[in-house]
Amino acid sequence: MTKSELIDILAAEQDHLPYKDVEEAVRKILERMSTALASGERIEIRGFGSFSLHYRPPRIGRNPKTGDSVSLAGKHVPHFKPGKELRDRVNQAFQTTLDSQPPTSEDQDALIEDEPDRLQVAASR
C-alpha cells in the first residue's frame, strides 16, 4: 500500500470530507511525525508502536572506490518498535495462512520457484 492508496481508502471511509482535506491530513500527520523525530522527540502510538532515535557513534569508514579512510561523524537514526496489538495482529494472520493452506503439489512447485527470494531474505539478515 502506498501513501496515495492510503489516502484513497481514508477518503472513501470519510466520504463527508473533501478528498483534498484527507490528502492534506495525511501529509500533515507525516510531516508532524518527521518534525518530532528531527527534533529528537519520541512518538508513541498505543497499539501501533513507538518511534525513537538511536545513536550511531562516529567511526572510520572507507571510500569503496579508492580505499581511502574517511572519518564519519556520529549520527542519529530513526527506530520503530512495533506495539503489541500490531505484532499480534500481523503474526496471527500469518499463523492462520500457515494453518489453513496445507501445500498441494502445485503449491510445492510455486514454493520451489520462490526459493531464491527466500534465500536472499535470509542472507540479508
Partner: protein, 99 residues
Amino acid sequence: MALTKAEMAEHLFEELGLNKREAKDIVEMFFEEIRTALERGEQVKLSGFGNFDLREKKERPGRNPKTGEEIPITARRVVTFRPGQKLKSRVEAYAGTDR
C-alpha cells in the same frame, strides 16, 4: 514528552480546520489502515517518511530467561521500519542527547 495521537489530532484541528471529531477519527484511521494492510501481508510505503516491511522469521531456539528452560521461538511474521532518505537526513542532523 512524546508525540501522541491526541497531539496529532490537535495539530490537524489547528492547521486544517477539521473539527475535533474529524481530526481524531482521521488520525485513528490512519494508523488502523496501516495495521490492516500489514495484517493482510502487504508492505506499506509512505514516500518521504519510510516503509513498513514484513519479514518472516524461521523457528529458532530460545530460552525462558527466568527459568533457563529451553523453548523454541516459533516461526513468525514481524514488522520492520525502513526510514526513507528524507527522514534519515532530517534526523541525522539532530545533535541533542535527550530522546
